[in-house]
Structure formats: C-alpha cells, structure tokens
C-alpha cells in the first residue's frame, strides 16, 4: 500500500480558493508547537502576534505603513513569476532606489528647492531600481546567465554601496559619526495623510499600483502575454510572443516598483538614508507574492497579513520576550505550506492498494 501523487484532470477551483487558508492554518499549528518548545504559551503568543496589533490605532497604521513596500515590491515580483522569470534581487533594487532618490535629497539639502524635489526623487528611485534590475535581465537575455544568481549577488553589492555612501561622502557632518545622512528637508519628505499620524502618501501610491496591476494583468494584451509565456511557453512561441522582451519588461517593472518602494520608505517613515533601511522587505515580498497567488488583490491582502507578522513579532518580543527571528521562521514555514497546498490544486493523492494474489479461480 502506498501513497502516490497524480495529476488531476482539471484544476480544482475549490482547493484554489481555500489553499491559502489551509496554509495559514497549518502554519499556526506548526508555530504553536514551536512556541511550546520555546516555553511560551501558544495562545498568549498568538494573541501578541495577531490580535494585539489589531486593537490599537497606532499599530493599525504601522501595519499599513509596513504593508506599503511589501505590496509594491510583491506586485512587481508577481509579473516576473507569472512570466516564469526569477527576480529574487528585489531587496537590492529597493536599496538602489532608496540611494538614487536620496541623492537628490542630499544635494538639495537646505537649498529650499521647492516642491518639485519629492516627485523627482520618486522618479529617480523608480528609474534606478529599473536600471539595476535590467543588469540581471540583460545578462540573462544576452548571455544566458541565470538571473536567479545574478540578481541575488547584486543585493550584496547594493547593500555595500549604500553602506559606503552613508559612512563616507553622504554622512551627516552633525550626526555624531553615526552612519546616516542628515534628515531630509520637508520638501524631500513623503507627506503624512493625517496630521500627527504615521500613514503617508506612499500608501495611496501603493493602492494605485495595485489597481493599475489589476487592469494590466486582467484587461490588456501585455498582461495576457505575461501569463501565456509563463504558463505555456510553447504556445506563446507559436503565438509570436517575444519571451526575451518580456524578461526585460517584467524585470524593469519589478525593479521600478521595488526602487519606488525604497525611496518612499526612506523619504517617508524613516526620513533619512541609513544602513538597515529594510528588514528584508525584498525577500518577504516573495512570500507575499506567492501567498497572494500572484494576483494583485490577493497580494494586497497577503501584504497586510505579513506586515502584521512584522508588527506582531515586535510586540511579542517586547511583551513575551519571544526572539525576533521567530517572525522569519514563521514567514518561511508559511511559504512552505502555501507552496505545498497550491500543489494540491493541480495534483491529488491516491492510495494504491496492491491487488491481492488471486486464489483458486475466483476471478
């Protein structure tokens, strides 16, 4: 008797609908075991993680602030993954976008430059992110180099470059030798939506990006091409779709969104450039993209959920001394379960019972 996997004759829509919930459920079970091993009461721990942040206005805003970069990056990544192109260097594109936009903020510091500064910074961030993402894309298209490895290597390069800038040429002379630029001028800062709050204009930009992505993927030829090239490369070739062009296009789009998210983060909630501006947004966004099933609306929901794990993780650390790394473990386990339960959309298990030896001509 053995268990085997076999392909379903058609995709199961029921499983497609409930699989993210199955994944979250299994993650909660696994994490309860982990909390118990750590000697924490699982119910209290989950309370600190998922309920407490939802009960006060500050945390709710903070979740939306954290969800902003996650969703923006994940939307871009979803274009890549739908087209079966593997950009895993969004973290680097995020950092380079932040650096490029900050360049203008640093150069116009104290010059009372006017209101064109912030829009120009956002454009610079997006453009730099796109250009940085084009390096692995062109390496893949021109030379056939694996975009997975090149895009990841460039994350380390971007990280070191940012480190160099804030410790060297861009360091705030009045900053007590801390590796940071001076606080950006008000004209170089993303404005908050409500006076005294944390929620900023970037949140609105993120919602616009989600809406635009929905239209692009669902209602335009380009969106259709992306999905066909990923799902059925042979059919796409017969259809005359240019797969190389799509590699470049999806990489550029995801790089631009990651770069934009980067400069918004720096010019918004942080307010200056410093090392460690990202707690791994570029990597967590990969989870967001898959948990949201590479669908813009799904990604929006998934982005909020993962933002909740960041905030909940911080609160659980303060309230229950649960190590911050638990959040990463949580995110990793969640991605595993999401991928595993998605597999059951196209496959199913069957129990094979080997036929008994036929005895004395009963057959």
């Amino acid at each position: 008797m053995r268990l085997v996997l076999e392909k379903r004759t058609e995709r199961s829509n029921t499983i497609a609908l409930i699989s993210p919930l199955i994944a979250i459920g299994l993650t909660i079970v696994t994490m309860s075991i982990l909390f118990a091993i750590l000697g924490k009461n699982p119910i209290l721990a989950f309370g600190a993680y998922f309920i407490d942040p939802l009960t006060d206005a500050y945390s709710l805003q903070e979740i939306a602030v954290k969800a902003t970069p996650l969703v923006m990056i994940a939307i871009g990544l979803s274009f890549c993954y739908l087209a079966n192109v593997w950009n895993i260097g969004a973290e680097g594109q995020f950092l380079i976008g932040a650096v490029a936009g900050s360049w203008l903020a640093v150069k116009t510091q104290g010059a009372d430059a006017g209101y064109w500064v912030l829009p120009a910074m956002l454009l610079l961030g997006a453009a730099a992110g796109a250009l940085y993402a084009l390096i692995p894309a062109l390496c893949r298209v021109r030379f056939g180099a694996s975009e997975i490895l090149t895009s990841l290597m460039l994350v380390y390069v971007a990280d070191l470059f940012l480190d160099y800038l804030v410790r060297g040429p861009w360091r705030d002379p009045k900053g007590f030798n801390f590796p940071t630029t001076a606080e950006f001028d008000p004209v170089a800062t993303v404005p908050v939506l409500i006076e005294g709050g944390r929620l900023h204009l970037g949140f609105i930009i993120m919602l616009v990006v989600v809406a635009a992505a929905s239209v692009l993927l669902g209602r335009t030829i380009k969106g259709f091409e992306i999905r066909v090239v990923g799902a059925a490369p042979r059919a796409a070739r017969f259809g005359g779709f240019n797969a190389r062009q799509l590699v470049i296009l999806t990489f550029a789009a995801s790089g631009a969104l990651a770069g934009l998210a980067g400069i918004i983060e720096v010019a918004g909630p942080i307010g200056h450039l410093q090392p460690g501006i990202s707690p791994g947004y570029g990597f967590t966004a990969i989870i967001v993209a898959f948990l949201g099933r590479l669908n813009p609306i799904g990604i929006l929901v998934a982005g909020f959920f993962l933002a909740l794990t960041f905030i909940g993780g911080e609160q659980a650390q303060i309230a229950m001394k649960i190590p911050l790394d638990v959040t990463k473990v949580f995110q990793g386990i969640l991605l595993f379960y999401v991928l595993a339960s998605d597999s059951l959309i196209t496959y199913r298990f069957r129990l094979i019972v080997p036929p008994r030896k036929v005895s004395r001509g009963t057959a």
């Binding site: 593997w86 380390y156 790394d325 595993f336 595993a340």
Partner: protein
C-alpha cells in the same frame, strides 16, 4: 615567503566551505534537482554545528550536528519538490528564508561564546618543511575531508554504475524511469547528500574558520556555491579550480583592504559578488552553443504508472 604561505593557507581555508557546499549541490543537480536553499542549509548547519561543539566540547560532534541539520532541511525540501511536485525554485527560496530565521533562533544564545577551533594537522618534520610544509601537512581535518569528498564524488559519478544511473536521472528522468530506476528515490538521496554537505560547509565556518558564531555569518557563501556549480559546468574537476579561485578573490580583497590601497573597503568587499556575476556572464556567453547543464535540471517529475 612567509606572507605568501599565509595567503595560501587562508585561501585554502576560505575556499573549503565553498568547495564542500558546491560538491553537495553538484550531486543534487546532477540528479536533476535544483536546490536553491544551500544558503539556508549552510546557516542552520553553522548554528547547529557551533551549538554541538559548544555543549560537548567536541569539534567532531559539532560537525555531525551540522551535517544532521543540513540533511534534515534537505529532507523538507525533498518532501516538497519530490513528494508534492512543488516548483523547485520557490521551495529553495523558502528553505533559505526559513533557514536564516531558524539559525537566528538556534544561535541566539551562542552570540559572544567562543570555542577552541578545529586543530590543525601536525606531523613533526613534515609540517616544519619550508614553503609547502604547513600548506600540505598543516591543515585542519575539514580541508582534507573536502578534497577526499570531491575526488570521491568524481569517482562515484564517472566510475560507478550508481553514478551513471544518477546522471541518467538528471539528464532524462523519463528514460531512467522507463528503464525501471526509482527516479524519485535516487533524487531523494542526492538531495539529502547535498543537504549534508551544505550543513558540513556551514559548520566549518564557526568550527574552524572563526571560532565563534554570528547570525548571518555565511554571508552569501551558499549562493556563491550555487554559482560555482554553474561555473564548473557540473564537473567535479572544474569545481575545485572554481572554489579555489573564489577563495583567492575573497582573501586578496581582504589583504588589499588591510594594506589600505585607497579604495573604500565596501568596494573591495563587493568584489566576490561582482566576480560571481561577471564569471556567470562570461561562462554563459562562452557556452552559447549549447548548455552543459543536466537536461532535466529543475523539472518536476511525477511518475505515471
């Protein structure tokens, strides 16, 4: 000469984890499975290896803990990609994310602790020979093990029937299946071997390279090991050359930083990563005629009956 000897010694030490991890991944990929989780398996191997050595005082037990941890993570990967036919790229990424979190959790109590690093071989007379003495006869056990490992894998892949079957699975799983070979089981062993090697490579870092554990101490070495497998065209001989070349780049940039050559240290630190990108591009370009990768690499196999 003293300096040259010191440089060669440190190049060997820096190359060893790359070589061990890449050897494991080479076997995994030769069976047709692309496991991108090397970095995750390495970092957990580092945390568990250090923990094992810290509590027992034995480097050997530390190394075994590292191997065990890497194998266990590889097993999760195998269940997902072989058992559930999940996309290997996405699963590998998940493994890395999980591994980084787990290592932080496991290693949280180890930060600031120190152990006595793995002893170096000492043969009176031979080790004291000028020039080559310490380089050939004065390494730690990991360095020798890595060389035995890669020669053993070369012999296994090209000189044994089992190696031939493993390569067949990687090049055409349908044919291998049709001939009656248990493709999934062979791949399971290959993936677990890859995990064991990655775990050992990770454990090498806190057990021999630096005698302490810091979170994220693998610093992308797992990804460089993956790039090395591409660099080697999936051949053990070239893998050795590649690993030592990369070790040399790492060490030379460190020495250049130490000598203060007027280039910001961050630019020098970025060199190994930039070198990886450049090498990947040059190699892929030279190979434009045809790929040398195992033909079934990264593809899902669900046997039909």
């Amino acid at each position: 000469m003293e300096l040259l000897e010191a440089i060669i010694l440190s190049v060997l030490a820096a190359s060893t984890p790359l070589l061990i991890a890449a050897t494991g991944e080479l076997v995994t990929e030769r069976s047709g499975v692309l496991n991108l989780g090397v970095e995750g398996m390495m970092i957990v191997g580092a945390a568990c290896g250090f923990g094992g050595a810290l509590y027992t005082g034995s480097i050997t037990i530390g190394a075994i803990c590292g191997i065990f941890a890497g194998t266990l993570l590889a097993l999760i990967f195998a269940v997902m990609t072989l058992g559930l036919a999940v996309n290997q790229v996405a699963t590998g990424l998940a493994l890395t994310i999980l591994g980084i979190g787990l290592s932080g959790l496991i290693g949280a109590g180890f930060v600031g602790e120190r152990i006595t690093p793995a002893p170096h071989l000492r043969i009176p007379g031979l080790t004291d020979l000028p020039l080559m003495g310490r380089i050939v006869f004065g390494e730690d056990a990991f360095v020798y093990a890595s060389l035995v490992l890669i020669v053993g894998i070369w012999w296994f892949l090209y000189k044994t029937r089992a190696g031939l079957i493993l390569r067949a699975c990687g090049d055409n799983h349908l044919s291998a299946h049709a001939l009656g070979y248990p493709v999934l089981r062979i791949r399971l062993f290959a993936v677990m071997f890859g995990g064991a090697c990655a775990g050992l490579a990770g454990a090498y870092l806190p057990l021999a390279y630096t005698p302490f554990f810091i979170p994220g101490m693998t610093a992308g070495r797992g990804w460089i090991a993956l790039a090395l497998v591409v660099f080697s065209s999936w051949r053990p001989g070239r893998l050795v050359v590649g690993a030592y070349l990369f070790g040399a780049v790492t060490i030379l940039q460190l020495h250049a930083q130490g000598a203060g050559i007027g280039v910001p240290s961050q630019f020098m630190s970025a060199l190994p990563y930039l070198a990886t990108v450049i090498v990947l591009v040059l190699l892929s370009r030279a190979r434009s005629g045809g790929s040398t990768a195992p033909a079934a690499l990264g593809t899902v196999f669900v046997p039909d009956r």
